[in-house]
């Protein structure tokens, strides 16, 4: 579904992602792990076309993303949930979710019902401003926004960072459900090894912009975690 | 600070030779032409003054014409008093028409030439100091500086037009006496006078260059790039910015004084929004990062204006506007940037032909990429 061949990605002249290759199968769950500042976020931003330039090749369902503008990538079915959630603070919850539908190729503007079944709290707060929600609620909103576009692939950047533990579990369950029950392909950037291990079909460990290690979910041992993720 | 010093010196030297020797010769020492060119020089001087604050420190002052105008009026007041010596009470003619009883107190000091000249520098500088302290202490930057200075300019111009009794209003100050300096009477159509203006420009340039080449210039360039970082090295950023602003104002005032000598009248249009933005245009066309280039910009644009407006009476402004848009879009560093790029290219070519790779070759490639970068930004 998503394939990178010797991918480089630049901010200015400095290559943040260097020579990264991977292949992500439809319906799979991939975790991208690594310490702070190794390029995990940049990798997702590269997939969305938000870096200054790329080298190598990047394909989504056979389309060369190197030739696709950012605004055209959403409608192809890539839903991005950025780090820090980045919901629109002055928009109401409803407007935020509707914004997701702008990326629908079929131009429908109604919000699928299952979103509110997943996040009942959002139905309750439909007319509150996004900026007034708590961190956990904002995260739910960010996911809901991405779901409103009916994505085939979800890119999640540290969705549980800075969120109260009880909601973390809830969000993790939703992400799992989206993958297992709705068949949405998931790429998850995460620091929490336990969730990555529980959920992933495959994992990629990045170090200094390069792939340090890959493997299947079960292979994600404590040793690897200690070596690449602690500190 | 050292590398391009020789290169720059050649540039300044060429400029001095150009305006001191080549221009008078090319103009056949014709009094009228020399006067016209002296006018360009004075305008080049304001452009250079703007480069001091805009190019060096990144302070876009859209009100540069205010300080220029103040300088102009200061000089005009002195000359007007000279011309009015035989009038009743020594009062300028327009005051008589508007029923002013006696010479207002703030006109009195301008009987003295030395006070006038000092005031021509100091009043603009003082105004700039107040404005600068006011803005920069509050960490006002970028667009807001532009807006504040623009609003200030409009306010000043309105006052000068309104207070017709003291300033001659819309008409400005006309019918001025020639300047008498150390027994020398300035005949503004003479060669001496041209050299006087040219000399002033060169001295002003040298002072400006001294400022830019000193550590102050370095700090200012750093402030332009990242003011916060400069603060963390212990510099009082607001004070440096104010200094640049003042120096720029003082030179603009100086240019204003010369301009009055050349044209023999002062008018509130000197403080107009259009004139002020025109200064910005000259500076941008020449290249705001170099004082000499900015001065050249002022001279070249005005020269073209003088020549082309004879040929295409109306089309000229159109041409100016279009040229300006193109300059902003395509060469944000002005003619100077273009020149630098060309120079760097030729250097690479020469090195390439001599087959000289290695360290030197590497450093020139670095220059080339640098200019490219700026071109895109």
């Amino acid at each position: 579904m998503l394939e990178a061949q010797s991918l480089f990605s630049f901010y200015g002249k400095s290559p943040i992602i260097q020579d990264v290759s991977f292949r992500i199968a439809p319906g799979s769950f991939t975790s991208v792990l690594g310490r702070n500042g190794v390029g995990k976020t940049t990798l997702l931003r590269t997939i969305m076309g938000l870096t200054d330039g790329i080298g190598g090749r990047l394909f989504f369902n056979g389309t060369d993303l190197g030739r696709t503008r950012t605004y055209a990538r959403g409608p192809m079915g890539i839903g991005y949930i950025p780090q820090g959630r980045e919901i629109i603070p002055r928009f109401t919850v409803r407007e935020n979710i509707v914004m997701g539908t702008y990326a629908r190729p079929d131009r429908k503007r109604d919000i699928p019902d299952y979103i509110f079944e997943l996040f009942p709290i959002l139905r309750e707060f439909l007319h509150r401003r996004g900026g007034d929600l708590s961190g956990g609620q904002q995260q739910q909103l960010a996911i809901a926004r991405a779901l409103a576009m009916d994505p085939k692939l979800l890119l999640l950047d540290e969705p549980t960072e800075g969120i109260q533990p009880n909601i973390v579990r809830q969000i993790e369950d939703v992400i799992l459900k989206l993958n297992r029950e709705l068949g949405i392909t998931v790429v998850l950037v995460e620091q929490n090894v336990h969730f990555a291990r529980r959920a992933s079909d495959q994992f990629i460990v990045l170090d200094k912009g390069r792939v340090a290690l890959t493997g299947s979910g079960e292979e994600l041992s404590d040793e690897i975690a200690d070596k690449h993720l602690t500190f | 600070m050292n590398r391009s010093f020789a290169f720059d010196c050649i540039g300044y030297g060429l400029f001095a030779v150009l305006i001191l020797l080549v221009v008078p010769w090319a103009l056949d020492f014709d009094g009228f032409e020399l006067n016209t060119f002296a006018r360009y020089l004075a305008l080049g001087m304001v452009a250079m003054a703007l480069a001091l604050s805009w190019g060096c420190a990144g302070i876009l002052n859209l009100g540069q014409a205010a300080t220029f105008g103040i300088g102009a009026y200061v000089m005009a007041m002195h000359l007007k008093l000279r011309a009015s010596e035989n009038m009743p009470g020594g009062m300028p003619d327009f005051m008589g028409w508007t029923n002013v009883e006696s010479l207002p107190w703030f006109w009195e000091p301008f009987h003295s030439l030395s006070i006038t000249i000092a005031a021509g520098f100091l009043i603009p500088a003082l105004v700039a100091a107040v404005m600068g302290t006011f803005m920069f202490r509050g960490r006002i930057t970028g667009v807001f500086v532009a807006i504040i200075t623009l609003a200030f300019l409009v306010a000043i111009q309105l006052v000068f037009i309104e207070e017709q009794r003291y300033t001659g209003g819309q008409n400005g100050l006309t019918g001025l006496a020639p300047l008498q300096l150390f027994g020398w009477t300035a005949d503004n159509y003479s060669l001496d006078f041209y050299y006087f203006v040219a000399g002033c420009l060169i001295v002003a340039l040298m002072l400006g260059i001294g400022l830019v080449r000193s550590k102050v210039g370095l700090v200012l360039r750093a402030i332009k790039e990242d003011p916060d970082r400069v603060r963390f090295f212990g510099y009082d950023v607001a004070r440096y910015e104010t200094l640049a602003f003042c120096a720029s104002a003082a030179i603009a005032g100086w240019a204003g004084m010369l301009y009055v000598l050349v044209l023999e009248f002062a008018s509130p249009t000197y403080m107009g929004v259009s004139f002020s933005l025109a200064i910005v245009i000259w500076c941008a066309v020449g290249g705001r990062e170099s004082l000499v280039a900015a001065a050249m910009g002022g001279i070249i644009v005005n020269m073209l204006e003088g020549r082309l407006s004879d040929v295409f009476v109306d089309g000229w402004t159109l041409f100016l506007g279009a040229a300006f848009i193109l300059v902003v879009l395509l060469m944000p560093r002005g003619l100077f940037g273009l020149f630098q790029m060309a120079l760097a290219r030729t250097q690479v070519l020469c090195r390439g032909m001599r087959g000289d790779s290695g360290v030197l070759g590497k450093s020139t490639t670095a220059i080339v990429t640098h200019t490219h970068d700026d071109g895109r930004r």
Partner: protein, 248 residues
Amino acid sequence: MAQLELKQLVAQFGGVFAVNKLDLSIRQGELRCLLGPNGAGKSTTLDLICGKTPPTGGQIVFDGRDITNLAEFRRARAGIGRKFQTPSVFKELSVIENLELARSREPGVLASLRVFRTRVTGRLREVLELVSLQDDIHTRAGNLSHGQMQWLEIAMLLVQDANLLLFDEPTAGMTIQETHRTGEIFNSLKGSHTMIVVEHDMSFVRQIAETVTVMHQGSLLAEGCIEEVESDPGVREAYLGDGGRDHA
């Protein structure tokens, strides 16, 4: 005698406590590593010390003087130097110009009006050699490699003659060799300079660390030598997410 002391320091941004009642005390000449997961408040702590962010509560004492409310350029003059996360050298200036700028013992306008040339002698030469930039003094800083820019910024702090150096991820973007060399530079500065280093690269931390402090959600989580801290269960949990839960 502590050179720098943070007492119950608080920084709050719109309801979120970036730094929450932090106590920290650092000796003259000590090198302290500051660790912690994303958002633990490490960079904010440095911001508070150098004056980039005003604290909402608490006190900062430097050399026995309360600097909590001092303007940033006055703190710099008092001897606090800061290196930012992304290298913030002046890219438009050459290496030597950057250093001249950093050499700010007389930061007044009048003093600066008298300086026209930079002589590469004495301390400046030493520092240049320390960071191996002596052959590139006229290179525009923007054309240096990423690692060299980081070194240039370190060099700038050194010529600034700051007593307390604050480093935010000094080795980010460096190659392994460059990182190692940076570690050597840091080690050579121990004793003469007080340093606080925020860093994620553990091999680098091991190379330089004496005492490490671990922060989590704005507060102090653990403090001690590196082995102690590494085996601290609280630290492991903070880093690896909600660790106990899955096994329970």
